[in-house]
Structures are given as structure tokens and as C-alpha cells.
């Protein structure tokens, strides 16, 4: 190990130097971005032209020779017992090459007759049951109608309030254990389960005793001179990525090696799942993802469709592609669970929080782990914090990890409660946070964003500017903040090759979920090797490359850019060592100002430009490879999920509410964010814009609607499932901190998730400020605004 000096602090608010103990091979720390050539510069995507010109190849573009199209048969009942699945008639349909029931649904393999007898249950409308592969999509669809399934239709419940009644039909007869996916989710085992209610899971902040905190919270709430208590509800949101889930599976001729092209945010987790399910070695499954049209947490695994595609391909002896349609996306591949949370806050008269309590239910359909406690447990300096979360099961599509799982829900409740508390205490909402939140980035963000927003001129609730000929349009402002975590995935390796012509390759098995990781990889390597970014070719998205992290948890940039920089550093050292030998230098030369400078016979050599230096190599290329190490000075707590720091995020929203029609128009959002050292501000702003738009859409529009009488989805499309469009997008101003912590060789963190956490809460607080009536339930529709105004007599 050796010692290096690292800059620490927020640029513009004071930087100091600290010592870190690091492995010998660690490159020296970068100074703030202003001193760098490539890193920290707003660099357009290296693959931008490929994307906008339609040449980028997504999974839905994959067409293999002889490829068949697969379609999935889904349950028409929200709850039923299946006695028999018979695919024999489907196999006789024109163009059909294979048909099979989902084996793990039946628990036994097909016996060759096309019939199975084991009894299994379906627990939601749209649950996958069987699939066919045919030469055309139309043939496959027609054949689905010929699969015979014998159902015993059972009573069901899709309304989460009804599901809590003791008499409600049970989703699970036995206690559920919920294994998390690579994208998070999952829930603690051995929780109490009564009827459809599983829990509560009881939590306190890291390192505190849960029972003691619970007692302290109860006492403080009883004693607290000032307090608020209210119940907040959030809806079910579907991921609605532009590219649907899908996968193309192709076996080799001997049927023992599988290649898949998948729309995924984790090529290695798809590989591992398929290898495990199919019982073949990981080395014989290759997963390729050139580009992915968004995932938001729901695209980590192979999915039932992936398993079906692989099995159909094996049976048909031909490649099979299954791409889900939009309706299937809304039904069966995950969602952000709904919630009902009661938040109680107590504070001293000066605003110092004395207790935070959140108790409630998460509604993840037939899936567990629908929590929301993250913000309450992590954000404020409060001596007593206690959270109880229970799952309520319903007969509907299961949840999946979704962009900061639990946090937008949690922030919506907690941050509105803080707004209510501020009003109760006659404190400014920003001042109340200043009193209770010492997180340095958020503190800085509150200050800078409030000033950019013009927060000082905000008026009291219902007192804002009015417009419209009838004075019907009212303006209001609100703010909210969020937290997320600096997480690192240690499965992050990269290889850098320097070729004799001076060109450079970066190879790593990370994939681009859509946020554009190729570009920061090119930037950090170009920075290290002092070459123009155009010299760096980045190859990603293939499990034959060195392992890369799954793109979830906002880990990608934090995990893989240090490996890439260190690989470039190693390759550079190999090059310089080679040059010492070739040029007969006294010692290893240095790369400076884009040229190699050495000492020969005691005299400095003339600077040799990088490409000319490379031309002197005796072999075709030099290599460097590196694997992400633990954060400098941080404890490794596991292979994944290494926790070193908390990320912030503070957003200010200005809205107009039409009190005659109930329509909310978000005018602008000023967003202060941090993600360690920003590698590419352009892409970071892009992520923040996306997070805010998705958060706005969550605040005002999106909601999966099920028919309570039939359990079926009513809006499984983009017409009635409402996603914000261009005209709904406000002016967005991003204030991005350069927050140096000296924790890795790039010191980068993630941004995808923090950007969406506070948006809905900030908009809700702004709506309250505009109309003087609080809406505690998402989405904030015209119906809810009008009802709130009517009930308040306004």
C-alpha cells in the first residue's frame, strides 16, 4: 500500500487535501475538473450519431437467419388454479415450430405428449403461462388461441384496502420469502404474514437499536410541542421504457452453447440466470446488448420471456426472438409499487426535529418488498427515527426495482410532512431543512438552487400571483429534497489496449442502459493517456468482455470508470516501460503534454508525440487491465452494495394551477444535484432532466388502472396510461456540484436515481402553495385538485 493525497470538498465551497492509503498501482488523484482536459467537460455522446441516425442496433432490431417469433400466452384470470396445459393443437397451426408451457409454472417438465398435470396457481391477470414460436408474429399469435388451459377460477382481490380485510381472498397460502433481484427489491425473510399482509418490517437508522428508537419516537411524539401527522398515498407506476422487454435466443448446432441478444441493464445477470435455469455453465452463455432502450430497474434478469425464448429455440432448433408488446409491459414486467404511509413528525419550537415516524403499507401486487422508508431513515439528523413497512399482496402484476426503489414514494410523504411542519412552526421550508440536515451537498444545493430559483420572493400558501380573466390561475412554489447512496459494484473490470498507430481501445462488459456510459469511459481513458477522445474506441455490451456492473442503483459510472482509468494507467506504464527499452533510456519516461519525455545518457530527450511513441513498440499493442477496488479508506461490506456516502438532491418547483379546471402546469424546476466528480456534465444533465420528467409524470399523470371487478388492466397502452409529453415538460435548470470525496481514481458517483426522488414532492408542495389546499395522494389529477378545492370551499 502507499499514501496519496486527494482533494476533498465541494468546488466553490472550499477544497482541502486529505491522505488516503491505496494499493501501489493506484494512479495519482486528479485535481478539480477545471485542471483536466477531458473529464468534467460537456462532451457529446460518442455514439450520438449512431443513435439519432437509427444505426444503433437494439434488441428489437436483431434478426437472425431462420429466426422465429415467439409470443406468450397469459392468464385471462387474476387468480386461478391450472390443471392442465395442452399445447398439442397449437403445434399443428401453420408456421408453428415449437410450443411449450412455462416449466416452473407447472413444476414438472413436459412429458412429450404436450400435456402436464401438476396443479399450479396464477396470481395475476397477464401472468405468463405458455409460449409458441412460429415463422411470423401473426402465426404465433393465432396459435396462442389454440393452447388449451383448464382453469379453476378462484376469487381475487386487486384493491389494496380490500386485500387487508381478513375475509379477502389470499394471494399466497404460505408465508412468502422474497429474493431480491440484481436490481434490488426483495424483502427480509421470516416476517409475520397474516392474510395478505406481510410485516411489519421494523427499521431504524443504521447502527441504532430498533426497539429503543421505537420507544423514543413514541415518547417524543407524545411530548413533542409541535407535530404533524398525516397519511399519504402513492399509485402504481409502470416502467414504460421505450424499448419493451425482449430477447433473441440462439443455440449453437450442438445445442450446448447459447447466445442471446437481450434488452437488458445487466448482461451478466441475464447470463447467470439463464445458465442457472438451463443448467449450463456460465461460460456457455453469451449475452450481447449493443444498446438498450431504457430499463429503469425492470430489466435485470432473463425474465420468463427469456427463459421461454431459450427453451423454444432449443426445441425448434432455430433462433427465437420474443419482444413483449406495450400491453405486456404494463401487465407483467414490474412496476413501482403503490403505498399508503402515515408520517408523524415532532419538533421543538425552534424547528429541531425530535421524532420521525413512518408507518404504512406497500402495494407490490404479487411481489414483496414494497418499502418506502429510505428517506425517513437516512435524510435528517433526528435523534429518534422509526419505520414500519408492511407488504399488502393483491392479485396483480408484481413490483420490480424502479429508479430509486421506495424513494420517490418515501420522499413524497416525508417531504410534504416537512412542508406541513414548516408551516405549523412558521418557518421557511428551506430554513427547516437547514436546521435538520447537515449533509454538505444538500446544504450547498439548498443555498445555490434557492438563490437561482428566486425562493426569497415566494408568498404564503394561496397568496401567489393570479392570472386568467377570472383570476382562476394561481401560481405557487415548493421545494423538496431526496437522498440516494453512493453504491459500487465490485464486478467491474476493464481492459485498455494501446495500438501501434496510437489508437486506443477500452473493453468492458458494462452495458448502456441508455445513459451513455461509452462516453465517460472514453473521457477517462483519453484523460489518462492524454489523447483526443476520437482516438478511443469503446467496446461494451458483451459477456465475453471483462465483467462490468449491472446498470442499476446508480452504480455504473462510480463502478466502472475507476477500473477504466486504472486499466489505462497500467497500459500507459506498459507503454512507457516498452519505450524505455526500445529507446534505450536511463529510466522509465513520462507522458506529459501528450508526448513522451525521457532521459537518455543524462540528457532530456526531445518530446515524442504519443502516436509516434506508439509506433516504436516492438509488438502490436500493449495491454492494461484493472478491476474496481474498494473505495479508498472504506470498508468492503460485500461484493455489491458497498456504501460509502450519501448523495443529495434538492429541487424547487413553480407551478400554475387552474382552479376552474384543476389542471396543474409545472412552469419550471431548479434542481441542485451532486454525483461526486462529474465526468460528463452534458450526460449528467441529461439524466437529471430525464429523472425530473419521469418524476413530474409520476406526480401528475401516471397510474396503472385495474378494474376492481375483473382484475384486468384498463390502460395497458400509452393512450390511457398517461406519460408526460413534450408540452408537459417545464423549463429545467440544473445546478450541479463538483463534490470531491477522494474515494476512487475518478471519484465519480451516480445520478440516474437521485434525480427523480424529490420531484413529485416538490411539485406537491408547490401545488399546496398555489391553492392553499394540500393533496396527499398521487397522481395530482384535475379530479383531485377540484375535489380538494371544493372540500376547502375555495
Amino acid at each position: 500500500m502507499s499514501q496519496i493525497e486527494v482533494p476533498v470538498g465541494i468546488v466553490g465551497a472550499g477544497i482541502h487535501s486529505e491522505q488516503r492509503e491505496v494499493p501501489e498501482s493506484t494512479p495519482p488523484a486528479w485535481q478539480p475538473n477545471a485542471s483536466l482536459q477531458q473529464v468534467g467537460k460537456a462532451t457529446p455522446r460518442v455514439d450520438g450519431i449512431e443513435k439519432v441516425s437509427g444505426r444503433a442496433r437494439y434488441t428489437s432490431d436483431i434478426v437472425r437467419p431462420g429466426m422465429l417469433h415467439g409470443k406468450v400466452l397469459r392468464s385471462p384470470h387474476p387468480h386461478a388454479r391450472i390443471h392442465r396445459i395442452d399445447v398439442s393443437e397449437a403445434l399443428k397451426m401453420p408456421g408453428v415450430k415449437a410450443a411449450l408451457a412455462l416449466p416452473h409454472l407447472l413444476g414438472i417438465a413436459d412429458d412429450g405428449s404436450g400435456k402436464t398435470t401438476q396443479v399450479q396457481s396464477v396470481r395475476y391477470y397477464g401472468q405468463p403461462i405458455a409460449a409458441v414460436a412460429a415463422q411470423t408474429m401473426e402465426q404465433a399469435t393465432a396459435a396462442l388461441g389454440k393452447i388449451k388451459v383448464d382453469y379453476d377460477v378462484l376469487p381475487f382481490v386487486v384493491d389494496p384496502t380490500e386485500a387487508r380485510q381478513p375475509s379477502a381472498p389470499k394471494v399466497f397460502a404460505q408465508p412468502v420469502t422474497a429474493r431480491g433481484s440484481a436490481g434490488g427489491g426483495g424483502s427480509k425473510d421470516k416476517l409475520n404474514q397474516v392474510g395478505n399482509v406481510r410485516g411489519p418490517k421494523r427499521s431504524a437508522p443504521r447502527g441504532r437499536d430498533v426497539d429503543k428508537q421505537a420507544t423514543q419516537v413514541t415518547q417524543a411524539l407524545l411530548a413533542g410541542p409541535q407535530g404533524v401527522r398525516a397519511t399519504y398515498k402513492t399509485q402504481v407506476q409502470t416502467h414504460s421504457a421505450l424499448e419493451t422487454h425482449g430477447l433473441c435466443a440462439e443455440w449453437n448446432r450442438t445445442g450446448d452453447e447459447l447466445t442471446v441478444w437481450a434488452s437488458t441493464q445487466g448482461i451478466f445477470s441475464v447470463r447467470d440466470e439463464l445458465a442457472e435455469y438451463l443448467g449450463i455453465p456460465q461460460s456457455k452463455v453469451r449475452v450481447i446488448t449493443d444498446y438498450c432502450g431504457g430499463g429503469f430497474g425492470a430489466k435485470f434478469g432473463a425474465g420468463n420471456y427469456g427463459v421461454l425464448a431459450a427453451l423454444l429455440a432449443k426445441e425448434a432448433k432455430a433462433p427465437v426472438r420474443i419482444m413483449l408488446d406495450r400491453r405486456e409491459e404494463h401487465l407483467a414486467v414490474g412496476n413501482r409499487p403503490g403505498s399508503e404511509q402515515t408520517v408523524a413528525l415532532a419538533a421543538a419550537a425552534d424547528g429541531k426535529l425530535t421524532a420521525i415516524e413512518v408507518k404504512g403499507f406497500g402495494f407490490g401486487g404479487a411481489g414483496a418488498g414494497a418499502g418506502f422508508g429510505g428517506p425517513a431513515l437516512s435524510m435528517y439528523d433526528c435523534p429518534a427515527v422509526y419505520v414500519e413497512e408492511s407488504d399488502v399482496f393483491t392479485h396483480s402484476g408484481p413490483l420490480a426495482a424502479f429508479r430509486a426503489p421506495g424513494h420517490p414514494q418515501g420522499a413524497f410523504a416525508l417531504e410534504q410532512a416537512m412542508d406541513e411542519l414548516a408551516e405549523r412552526l412558521h418557518l421557511d421550508p428551506v430554513a427547516l431543512r437547514d436546521k435538520n440536515d447537515s449533509h454538505p451537498a444538500r446544504k450547498e444545493q439548498r443555498q445555490r438552487a434557492a438563490s437561482a430559483f428566486g425562493w426569497a420572493s415566494r408568498t404564503a400558501a394561496g397568496q401567489g400571483k393570479r392570472s386568467g380573466k377570472l383570476g382562476e390561475v394561481r401560481r405557487g412554489s415548493g421545494m423538496a429534497q431526496g437522498c440516494w447512496y453512493h453504491l459500487v459494484n465490485m464486478d467491474s473490470s476493464a481492459e485498455v489496449r494501446i495500438h501501434r498507430d496510437g489508437s486506443v481501445e477500452v473493453l468492458t462488459g458494462v452495458q448502456d442502459i441508455g445513459s451513455g456510459i461509452r462516453t465517460p469511459l472514453a473521457q477517462v481513458v483519453a484523460e489518462e493517456l492524454q489523447v483526443p477522445i476520437t482516438k478511443v474506441k469503446v467496446t461494451i455490451g458483451d459477456t465475453r468482455l471483462p465483467p462490468g456492473p449491472g446498470s442499476g442503483g446508480s452504480v455504473t459510472t462510480a463502478s466502472i470508470t475507476p477500473a477504466a482509468r486504472e486499466a489505462a494507467f497500467a497500459a500507459k506504464r506498459a507503454l512507457l516501460t516498452e519505450l524505455q527499452a526500445v529507446l534505450g533510456l536511463d529510466k522509465v519516461p513520462e507522458l506529459t503534454g501528450g508526448a513522451v519525455v525521457g532521459v537518455k545518457a543524462g540528457k532530456p530527450t526531445a518530446p515524442l508525440p504519443f502516436d509516434k511513441a506508439c509506433a516504436r513498440m516492438r509488438r502490436a499493442e500493449v495491454l492494461g487491465s484493472a478491476t474496481r477496488g474498494p473505495d479508498y479508506g472504506a470498508t468492503v461490506t460485500g461484493r455489491r452494495g458497498q456504501f460509502a456516502a450519501q448523495l443529495g438532491g434538492v429541487q424547487f418547483a413553480e407551478v400554475e394551477v387552474n382552479t376552474l379546471t384543476g389542471v396543474v402546469n409545472v412552469l419550471r424546476i431548479v434542481a441542485g444535484h451532486d454525483c461526486g466528480r462529474p465526468v460528463n456534465p452534458l450526460l449528467i444533465e441529461n439524466q437529471i432532466h430525464g429523472g425530473i420528467i419521469q418524476g413530474l409524470s409520476y406526480a401528475l399523470f401516471e397510474e396503472r388502472r385495474l378494474d376492481p371487478k375483473t382484475g384486468r388492466i384498463l390502460n395497458g397502452n400509452f393512450e390511457q396510461y398517461k406519460v408526460a409529453g413534450a408540452l408537459d415538460v417545464p423549463k429545467i435548470d440544473v445546478i450541479l456540484l463538483e463534490d470531491l470525496r477522494g474515494r476512487s481514481s475518478t471519484d465519480a458517483s451516480g445520478i440516474g436515481e437521485p434525480a427523480t426522488v424529490p420531484t413529485a414532492a416538490a411539485i406537491a408542495n408547490a401545488v399546496y402553495n398555489a391553492i392553499g389546499v394540500r393533496i396527499r395522494e398521487l397522481p395530482i389529477t384535475p379530479a383531485k385538485v377540484l375535489a380538494a378545492l371544493a372540500s376547502a370551499g375555495k
Partner: protein, 361 residues
């Protein structure tokens, strides 16, 4: 989607022949195809034959054209149905705007003639769906499209409108459904241009094998509970009919029109409510309203005329914010909201107030 044969006739006569041919099952006309392809993809309709009339053109009365026709050249059938012909006497002959059925919504929205002489219609066309859809969707198709009720649009539900016995929305999820005339089906009429055109006293020119037919749009559109209505249809279109053109009287001095719409989402959304108002004011003195039509959209099976509000407006000595509020409330007189759409009563009232404020304040 089912398999179908596609024919592309060159003339109206060929189209009529195709429509009345019995070979290959019932035929469906396709213009822009926005709605019919949706219905086929959703499995709601399975026509064995599609007749593509999008490129059909007939001179001199082009099917994709907007023009102003002088009073003496108005077809008699149209003239007879123009407003002002009460008490047995024929209406006065007057200039009309003629719009071919294949005119796209973009053309309608961008037409200077429509903007200046039928602003409610151009405003309604401009706010429908998305720019891409407006580029392809035709006026005829917009008027004749089927409702967007999510039970009707789902093959999972055999609802009353599709020949079943139940309206699932009535006791189900009915947020976007009718607050007037909502028995036995509570789907709302989906056409924004219909709301504007009813306010503008539009007359339709239809071609049948027996010759041309004429109808006021207001009586051509018919709700299930109205005389001649049926739950399975929204209008009096027959299977062998072609809608050729839409006629609206050119405005006389003092006449103006306005259209306003409330959408939850401003990009690509169906209306929560719409209103179109056509108004004639006196040309001298205080320019008091002399005639008015207030037509509400997305509230009933067909565009709904708010007669009480119209009467109140005409009886108003002057219009201030308070009077406008009262007229807005009168516009929703007699509403019978369902379990989840009570908010629409308030919203429609608010929308009418905003529209009246635009006109009078």
C-alpha cells in the same frame, strides 16, 4: 389483427360498388386509418375487406379541399338544412364553407379560411392527438371514429356497445365517462371537430347508391337513448354510405365562434371536457348577444347542447364575472355524474366560464 383484403377504388362509384358487394364479407372504409386500424389491432372490429379511400378524388368537388362556395352554388339539400329556416319557410341562401371529407386535421388547422371564418373548427383540429396523427387523420374519420371508453376498447369486455348486455363503466372505472345521457352506455363521443361543427350548424353531404343525402350533423350524431339511436352506434351512417363533404354557413356580420378544451396532459391526450360556442352579436349599440350555441364535448354520447346556459346568456343584460359563473353552473344543469366522474361537473362549468370570459371579458 385479422387478415383482410384491401381495395383502392378510383371513383366514388367504384367505392359504392365495393361497399355493396357481398363478396368477402362486410367492408369498412379506411381514410387516414387512425381509428379503423386501432379497432382492428385491438380486436374490436374484424372487417374482411378494407376499402382505402384516402387517395380518392373527384373533380370538381374535391374530397380533400377547403373552399368557400357562393350562395347560389350551394346544393339545395345543404341550403334547406342551414339555420334560420324555421316556421315552414326555407332558410335564407348564404355563402358556405365546404370541406372535403378527406381533408386532414393539419390542413384544417392551418387553413387561413377556416381560421378566419370558423375559428372553433380550426382550434379543435389543432388540438387533437399529435402532429403526426393530425397529418394523416381526416375530418371524416374524426367525425366517424368510435368512442375511447376503455371497456369498449378492450377485447376482454363484451360490453353493451359491442352487443353484450352490460355497461362495465357504469359501475366501474368511469372517470372519463359521460355526465349527461349516460344510460345504457356512458361512453362519450370522441370527436373534437364534431363539437365545433355542431356549434357551427354543419350539414353533411353523404353519397348513397340511391343518390346524395343531406343531414345536419346535430341530428346525424345520435346517442343511444335518443330517438333513432342505438347503443351500438354513434351516428346514422349506413353501411353503403360515404361521407363526402361538410358544409358550414360562412359567418354573417357579428358572428364568431370559439373552442376550448381541457386535457389532463397537454401532449397527446383525450379531452376531459370541451366546449364550442358560436355567437351572433348585434352589429350596433351594445352588441348584445342575439343568438348562441353552447356545445359541450366529452360529456355525453354525442355533443351536448347546454340550452339552459344559452337561454341565460341571451337574457343577460350584461356579462360580468358573476353572471358568467352562473351561466357556467347552468351549463351543467341536469348532470347525472357516475361514481368517479363527479369532478367533471365542476370542470365543465369552469371550462364554460373560461370560454365565456374569453368572449365577453
Amino acid at each position: 389483427m385479422n387478415s383482410f383484403t384491401l381495395t383502392i377504388p378510383r371513383t366514388i362509384q367504384q367505392t359504392l360498388d365495393e361497399l355493396s358487394s357481398n363478396k368477402g364479407g362486410p367492408a369498412r372504409l379506411k381514410a387516414g386509418g387512425i381509428d379503423v386500424l386501432d379497432l382492428m389491432k385491438e380486436g374490436i372490429e374484424q372487417p374482411g375487406r378494407l376499402i382505402n379511400i384516402r387517395l380518392l378524388d373527384e373533380k370538381p368537388q374535391a374530397l380533400r379541399d377547403i373552399s368557400e362556395v357562393k350562395a347560389d352554388a350551394i346544393p339545395e339539400g345543404v341550403w334547406r338544412l342551414l339555420p334560420g329556416g324555421d316556421n315552414g319557410s326555407p332558410p335564407p341562401r348564404r355563402d358556405c364553407l365546404r370541406i372535403g371529407t378527406l381533408t386532414t386535421l393539419t390542413e384544417l388547422a392551418h387553413s387561413a379560411l377556416i381560421q378566419s371564418k370558423a375559428s372553433a373548427l380550426s382550434a379543435s383540429a389543432a388540438q387533437i392527438a399529435t402532429p403526426q396523427i393530425r397529418q394523416v387523420a381526416t375530418l371524416g374519420g374524426n367525425l366517424l371514429q368510435r368512442p375511447r371508453c376503455w371497456y369498449f376498447r378492450s377485447a376482454d369486455y363484451l360490453c353493451a356497445k359491442k352487443g353484450g348486455s352490460v355497461c362495465f363503466a357504469r359501475d366501474g372505472e368511469n372517470d372519463f365517462h359521460a355526465i349527461f345521457d349516460n344510460q345504457p352506455c356512458c361512453a362519450v363521443h370522441p370527436s373534437g371537430t364534431a363539437v365545433a361543427l355542431v356549434a357551427l350548424d354543419a350539414v353533411l353531404l353523404l353519397q348513397t347508391p340511391q343518390g346524395e343525402r343531406f343531414a345536419r350533423l346535430s341530428s346525424f350524431l345520435v346517442g343511444p337513448s335518443q330517438p333513432g339511436g342505438a347503443v351500438g352506434r354513434e351516428n346514422r351512417m349506413e353501411e353503403d354510405m360515404i361521407l363526402k363533404s361538410i358544409w358550414i354557413p360562412s359567418p354573417a356580420p357579428g358572428e364568431q365562434s370559439l373552442y376550448r378544451k381541457v386535457k389532463h396532459k397537454q401532449s397527446f391526450d383525450w379531452p376531459l371536457a370541451e366546449v364550442a360556442i358560436s355567437l351572433r352579436r348585434g352589429t350596433s349599440g351594445n352588441k348584445a348577444p342575439e343568438a348562441v350555441r353552447i356545445i359541450l364535448g366529452a360529456v355525453a354520447p354525442v355533443p351536448y347542447r347546454a340550452r339552459t346556459a344559452e337561454t341565460m346568456l341571451l337574457q343577460s343584460p350584461s356579462l360580468d364575472a358573476e353572471r358568467i359563473r352562473k351561466i357556467g353552473q347552468a351549463a351543467v344543469n341536469g348532470a347525472t355524474p357516475l361514481s368517479r366522474n363527479g369532478y367533471k361537473v365542476q370542470l365543465v362549468s369552469g371550462l364554460v366560464q373560461q370560454a365565456l370570459a374569453d368572449l365577453f371579458l
